[in-house]
């Protein structure tokens, strides 16, 4: 825009035209933007309503109170049957999504940290194994990883009658993993109280030990004490009541193992696939985080006499966490969203259940809206939690 005829416009600076006032312009542009967005929203809503009416379709969320009529294979938390409502079916789906996401996030984090640190190992073999792991899982689409685990689980595991027996009356076959379910008798509540007291006690002991170390430099075996409190107290409570605890063991029925608790192959393969897939990304984030901590930090730690283990645990990782947490949040969100691939292997997550409801009630707009809102809520809550965690870990200048 090289203009040849530059005519110097000299104006009284006190009397700038309103049009050239940046503040006024800003207001104008913002008002226009708001109007455009409002118009667009109005256009879309209006279109939707018109089109629905034209297609003789009802709208609204009232259909959620209707009887669902279909069964769901996995509803570990809610009592669900075909007599339940669509809303209850959706809750089952949401809880299944949350279960696999939560379990996946924990496992992926653990595997990711191990592999990430392993990639920085001085041991050639460990380093290479970890590299191969990352490159394999990172470069394969998650859906294929899920199919790999699902067909792997299905084709390798035996039929129900030839179940693989594991210790403690646990069984593995192509219908899933079966283990004894604890049945609590009268007086078992005391064990719950014991567990609660143990957790609170652990918390208090940790605080006390930290203060003491700060004041005197003496260390206290917090780990062992915590274990004793959390496991020992409930056991003690059970012993007082004469062990009011029995187990419901899985036994072979006409078709399958019956009784006990069961984890289906769909959940297992989805959970394993999401964990292993996401772990490869977390491993790279962890590696980057650790690399981001200056070498001088570990050298200083060594100079102070700390060995390799404590150096990593007490000096490097806490500083690396500040780099790791923000991208880690994205991976957690990805894992949660990737869980919607469950639909491919028949795990009844939110998308699978919602899809069935969509098909039966033909309420595509409502169901898609519910999908969007639920995933958005889960993601926003995850982000808020991770932001809080990040703020807690951030460098506080003193």
């Amino acid at each position: 825009m090289a203009s040849q005829d530059i005519t110097p416009v000299v104006k009284d600076s006190a009397k700038v035209s309103l049009l050239n006032d940046p503040k006024f312009r800003g207001y104008i542009f913002q008002a226009v933007a708001v109007l455009v967005i409002a118009g667009l929203v109005y256009w879309m809503v209006n279109n939707t309503i018109t089109n629905l009416q034209r297609a003789n379709l009802a709208s609204g969320f009232g259909f959620l109170d209707g009887r669902s009529g279909f069964d769901i294979s996995s509803s570990p938390y809610l009592a669900y049957s075909s007599d339940s409502t669509y809303l209850q079916a959706l809750w089952v789906g949401i809880l299944n999504t949350l279960t696999v996401a939560f379990a996946g996030i924990i496992t992926a984090t653990i595997i990711g940290f191990i592999i990430g640190i392993g990639r920085l190992s001085h041991n050639w073999l460990i380093r290479k194994i970890c590299t191969v792991y990352v490159e394999v899982f990172r470069n394969v689409p998650p859906l294929l990883v899920i199919f790999f685990w699902y067909s792997g689980v299905l084709s390798v595991l035996p039929q129900a009658r030839q179940s693989i027996s594991l210790p403690f009356n646990m069984f593995l076959n192509n219908r899933g993993f079966f283990f004894p379910a604890p049945v609590f008798g009268e007086g078992a509540w005391l064990a719950g109280v014991g567990l609660l007291v143990g957790i609170v006690g652990t918390f208090l002991v940790r605080r006390w030990a930290y203060k003491r170390q700060m004041a005197t430099g003496q260390q206290f075996p917090v780990g062992w004490t915590s274990l004793g409190l959390i496991v020992g107290l409930p056991l003690l409570a059970l012993a007082i009541k004469g062990f009011p605890l029995s187990f419901d063991y899985p036994v072979l029925g006409a078709f399958n193992l019956r009784g006990g608790s069961q984890v289906g192959p769909e959940f297992m393969s989805l959970y394993l696939a999401l964990s292993f897939y996401t772990a490869s990304f977390i491993a790279e984030i962890v590696r980057a985080g650790i690399r981001g901590v200056g070498k001088g930090q570990s050298e200083a730690a060594h100079a102070l006499g700390l060995r390799a283990g404590p150096t990593t645990r007490l000096v490097v990782v806490p500083q690396a966490m500040r780099i790791i947490i923000p991208p880690l949040t994205s991976q957690y969100l990805n894992l949660t969203k990737n869980s919607s691939l469950a639909v491919a292997i028949g795990y009844p997550d939110l998308v699978a259940v919602g899809g069935t409801i969509l098909n039966q009630t033909n309420r595509s707009i409502e169901v898609v809206t519910i999908w969007l809102v639920v995933y958005l809520s889960i993601s926003v809550l995850t982000s808020l939690f991770m932001n809080w965690f990040n703020a807690k870990m951030a460098l506080v200048e003193r």
């Binding site: 939707t48 379709l57 098909n359």
Partner: protein, 373 residues
């Protein structure tokens, strides 16, 4: 712009005149297979477009020059593509019959393979003109903005088991505690729940979206039983690793009247699909076949002449929005109902399904054509 263009492409079947000229450049063939996407597309179609599927489907079909027919993704006997990608089957022949009635040319069809969950949203959003995909006629579907135009196949839901592994079982009432493979979003899924509840039996549903996934899971032993329409069980059994190990149990637990579906609110188009079915049945009743139709059109039986549009001054075809020789075109292209049945499902096919209740009313069956006059 990328996703935006994608969305326009996918909802190409709409009359886009009211929202711009983009749509006309983008009438590419995109077959979306993902159900989630389908649901979302149906939703976005409602949200985005001012002019959803227009009322006059016949005009739309004539204008674009072909019929977009929604069929099964692969159900041998009803609709499945061969290794050259050519579709064949009972439902496919119905698509071809409609194309023959409209264009006089059975090849003017494009097929959209749809999973059970995708099929109705696809019809509703206008992606297809007619759905001929073994779809059960139910009240709730009928009142949700669709019209069923008739029953081209009377079916019922059954169970298949591996008789080698479960040798003691010869009735569905012995299935308590079984894992049952079923396709998501079907009436089958609901009948299954009702049947086990009514008989106070427990079961574990293993639900997949795509029929290929259900087949693979059943074949690998993930489930003890497979449930769907009996015709489907016979068809899928052919594709199992050891078909002879599997038996279809005798119980039929539901009525499954399967038929073509159109969008509600277009009476003319519904009539064309409905009377195509009746034309096929009438042709069988009158002994009009693919081989003799042209000869009979020149004959002198008054009833045959009327049906074939050879009566002087007849307006039966033109009043329907077609030509007067529409029945000739249909039968010349695909044969009569009996021929279609035997070729795809009956003695001429690997399925060997008996006519049973799908025989003509005069032979003890339920197929009954309204008079063409």
């Amino acid at each position: 712009m990328g996703p935006f263009l994608g969305a326009w492409g996918a909802i190409r079947q709409y009359d886009l005149s009211s929202v711009g000229t983009m749509g006309t450049n983008l009438k590419g063939q995109i077959v979306m297979k993902n159900l989630v996407l389908k649901g979302a597309l149906a939703a976005s179609a409602f949200v985005l477009l001012a002019n959803a599927a227009s009322a006059a489907t016949l005009d739309d079909v004539k204008k674009k020059g072909f019929l977009q027919c929604g069929v099964n993704t692969g159900l041998p006997g009803f609709a499945s593509p061969n290794d050259k990608g050519e579709w064949s089957g009972f439902d496919v022949d119905y698509c071809r019959a409609v194309a023959a009635a409209v264009f006089g040319d059975p090849t003017k069809v494009k097929y959209t393979p749809l999973s059970a969950k995708d099929r109705l949203p696809a019809l509703q959003s206008g992606e297809i003109d007619v759905l001929i995909r073994n779809t059960t006629w139910t009240l709730s579907r009928d009142e949700q903005g669709f019209d069923f135009t008739g029953v081209n196949y009377y079916d019922g839901q059954g169970f298949m088991i591996n008789s080698k592994k479960l040798s003691g079982i010869n009735s569905a009432l012995q299935l308590s505690g079984a894992s049952v493979c079923v396709q998501a979003g079907t009436t089958t899924e609901l009948n299954l729940a009702d049947y086990f509840k009514a008989n106070k039996m427990e079961y574990n549903p293993v639900v997949f979206e795509k029929v290929e996934e259900v087949n693979a899971a059943y074949d690998s032993g993930r489930c003890d039983a497979y449930t769907t329409d009996q015709s489907g069980l016979y068809a899928y059994r052919l594709a199992l690793t050891a078909p002879d190990d599997h038996i279809v149990l005798p119980e039929i637990i539901s009525k499954e009247p399967l038929g073509p579906v159109v969008r509600q609110g277009d009476a003319q188009w519904a009539d064309i699909i409905r009377w195509t079915h009746y034309a096929l049945l009438t042709a069988e009743e009158l002994g009009i076949t693919k081989a003799n139709v042209e000869e009979l059109a020149k004959g002198d039986s008054p009833e045959v002449k009327r049906v074939l549009g050879q009566e002087a001054g007849t307006k039966l075809g033109t009043d329907l929005g077609l030509t007067n020789d529409w029945v000739v075109n249909i039968v010349k292209a695909v044969g009569n109902y009996g021929e279609i049945f035997e070729k795809n499902l009956g003695s001429g096919s690997p399925l060997k399904i008996a006519r049973g209740i799908n025989a003509q009313w005069s032979k003890g069956g339920l197929q009954y054509a309204m008079p063409i006059r």
